[in-house]
Chain length 585, copies 2
Amino acid sequence: MYRTHNCGELNIGNVGIEVKLSGWVQKSRDLGGMTFVDLRDRYGITQLVFNMESEAELCGQARKLGREYVIQVEGVVAERSNKNKKIATGEIEILAKTLKVLNASETPPFTIEKDSDGGDELRMKYRYLDLRREEVRKNLELRHRMSIEIRNYMSGEGFMEVETPVLIKSTPEGARDFVVPSRMNPGQFYALPQSPQTFKQLMMVAGFDKYFQIVKCFRDEDLRADRQPEFTQIDCEMSFVERDDVLDAFEGLSNHLFKAIKGIEIEGRYPKMPYDEALRRYGNDKPDIRFGMEISELKEEVSGKGFVVFDSVEYVGAICAEGCAEYSRKQLDRLTDFVKKPQIGAKGLVYVKCNADGTFKSSVDKFYSQEDLKLWADKMDAKPGDLLLILAGDTGPTQKALSELRLEMGRALGYMDTDEFKPLWIVDFPLLEWNEDTQRFHAMHHPFTSPYEEDIELFTTDPGKVRAIAYDLVINGVEIGGGSIRIHNKDLQKKMFDNLGFTEEEAENQFGFLMNAFRYGAPPHGGIAFGFDRWVAIFAGLDSIRDVIAFPKNNSGRDVMIDSPSKIVQEQLDELFLDVKDIDK
Amino acid sequence: MYRTHNCGELNIGNVGIEVKLSGWVQKSRDLGGMTFVDLRDRYGITQLVFNMESEAELCGQARKLGREYVIQVEGVVAERSNKNKKIATGEIEILAKTLKVLNASETPPFTIEKDSDGGDELRMKYRYLDLRREEVRKNLELRHRMSIEIRNYMSGEGFMEVETPVLIKSTPEGARDFVVPSRMNPGQFYALPQSPQTFKQLMMVAGFDKYFQIVKCFRDEDLRADRQPEFTQIDCEMSFVERDDVLDAFEGLSNHLFKAIKGIEIEGRYPKMPYDEALRRYGNDKPDIRFGMEISELKEEVSGKGFVVFDSVEYVGAICAEGCAEYSRKQLDRLTDFVKKPQIGAKGLVYVKCNADGTFKSSVDKFYSQEDLKLWADKMDAKPGDLLLILAGDTGPTQKALSELRLEMGRALGYMDTDEFKPLWIVDFPLLEWNEDTQRFHAMHHPFTSPYEEDIELFTTDPGKVRAIAYDLVINGVEIGGGSIRIHNKDLQKKMFDNLGFTEEEAENQFGFLMNAFRYGAPPHGGIAFGFDRWVAIFAGLDSIRDVIAFPKNNSGRDVMIDSPSKIVQEQLDELFLDVKDIDK
């Protein structure tokens, strides 16, 4: 055994005992006749003392130690004169008697400290060094604790974790599958699952009743800032349930995690907000409800006064920024620039300052009287000192732009406290979504989502209005998970495939095994899947999921540490009956 | 909510209450004025009673129910007159008041019962129906319980579960990688991990100290009876440990599982048997030590008596089958046929019967006197009534054949009690293995395994004799896991690659990131990986891992249920810059 204790556990109660420690040299400093070395491991930092007077040779060796050397030391625990109350071991030090270098280290390419001097690219290349930093390690410790809590909670609630296959079948629908050529079946491919959706439904047909799995999923698509080609889902499914049974079950999981991990009791039930209402009030189907600043529709109030912009558009909406009437020209210009950015897409920004003296000043004073402006302010419950920010255009894009503006103002005004959590359910999503490119309806979630029974007749008259029994869990403006009650009737499933434009052959070829399973007694069932990476990131107070993944890939899907993906040798391609096309063409 | 209770929880204490149950029709029978339906779900079976006299219409509906219909019933819990003490709900029944068919079922292709009438192929195709059988479901429940126990135990011991990537880098060494073409990086491929070996070592370099993961691994090779292209490992690694620290830690895990899952206390420490000794005593590096019948070497005793077969061979070995002296000609012929099978490979079998009267009868009486045979029997501690079975040939193959014969006799004599468990460690494996095909040494485990320090000098004189600090956990003749202390010194690692015939470029290209990591303070470390599927199978008393996997693949690597692998469309190949060669050529 290379140690009797780790570097985080010795304290004043251990003074006088002989110990053996191993770890990494965090730093060392020579003070006159003494050399102090901070020895680090996963558990903490312990101070070692080498005495030049009494142990000259040993101290001489200690002075040669470089950063990140791996060493082993024997010595006696002593009380420190100069105590550090900030760390658990801060009241003691080890008077070193022996020193052994277990492994030397070259000078690392960046400092292993809270604020490292390494850039992103360098730290990703040397990820094993970046992982030594407490800040990075803590995220993975949190991830581990959350996974243990989730599994024990779910298991306690009667859910069984079942491993579904990773080598499955490719389906041309939806986002792109990674495929895997099979050597034993030349010319044929497996696919990696984008989710275990069909398998968990088969588990329900199999009578497993309550299933869950923390499972890797895969998507070969262009990576946005917060996407990874492989990511982890908490995948769940239940039988003999209606929507609210599912919501109750997973509100339970969520509350358990808040309590066990964050020490927070969420009060009351999570609000359930229909999709339409979320768009109307927040411009967005994953509203951050830590703060108000809701959107007001003003089309009626602003029309007919000769302002062509407002008169000609489909939609005019506004938010009220409390206490911002004093915003300067420059601040307002910055907001205008913000909403005009291509990813926000507004044409311009109209403001109304509700002055402290009860008057109004707006960028459209030419068209509207003080009374007009007062009407708007009253509708929005604006008080003197507030600032109204108004956007106009097509309904969808303008609501979306208002949502972005609202979040921008929320950030600016400090409304987004990372220690406050406001979960809610978004419900009643549309079942189908019109796709301009293909000129047909696509499933908004996936083709197994059940419509409300009373909406089924709309399939023939107004398919876009059919509501799905689908739901998302949203926390602080982040979609943490989503799910639905599934279709369990083979005729309805067939109708759904018809509506989505599948030929019978396509449906049979891609989902035949599920349709087949439905012939032998499928129970009513539904479920949900949570983005585990994202949930951990939210609890860690981080914006990106990359920081909660041990070995993430970059935006091109590359692992720069191991330099993957990479070319493979011709023999390997030959065995797979594959040729790589000339890429330069 | 579709139910107030499940089908396994109502008992005599619930008599009189109104309940709602949902589940599958296991079977129904009409007895005069009554119809009895066994309603099944994951939790059990509850008997429903429909009364033709009082509820004629309802009972009429019930008589139309087919097997595997999904139904919902409301009724009152009543005491049964005809109690079934074998099941938890056997003292009650439900007097049905309403009946609703939630989903009909076609007649399933095989019976959903303990002894199903469905063949293997059919049950695999309809796996979701096979999973409804209690016997199959119980294996997956066991798997779930074991995974929960493992995770909580490991977490309690300070191990952190860290997810390592599934999309990694292909290495031409060892068994075959599955590769995954990257759309975003044309002409380049990821590989699926055969194990997270290098990543867990990087976790140690990163200072994670104690890592574990229950993780899917992949191997694209011809499938033996008990192999699957995707399988699950319990992967573990520790820092600052020597061999016995690792063995202690995982003996703890093993003992915990025996206790928590099987209710068994394993007495004392697990024996540690060197590889050489295991071969000598059991002919095999994963001996089943539930019984003795050890191999005795007889070359010296049998030589020089004119029997050319024994005189000319390298090795003569024997086992003693207790109380088998009365074996008939036919029984002995069958054993001879057994050892001559190609997969056993012996040329013939020599027997010596130790008769009850103290005389001996052998198949080589022509060459050996009664005194000769007594000498053999004495060496083997054989008693009157025992049977000696002798094989001769080259050492390795003959030991292996004796091992098979020993196991065959152990089975025949009922020595292999599936409720008895005898774990042991096999230690001191050879580091290198000579490969006749390539005419060079290969790593017996993998190139990161550390040799014993005192054996390093043998590298230049007798590489085959270098012992590895490697170990396997063997339970009842099955290798459950294996691991080693790793090389943590970059110079020794380089020397190892040299000895394995890697050029510097190959080593750099394949393992550069690990070699690089070793430059920045790698701690001494070691670990182990267990075959989770196999461990579950052993605890379930099953021979094949296929029965503990929810959706296994067949011997050709096919999932016959979803019909995968399969062809993919040309557009998908084009996007991946791939062509499939003409396979018929």
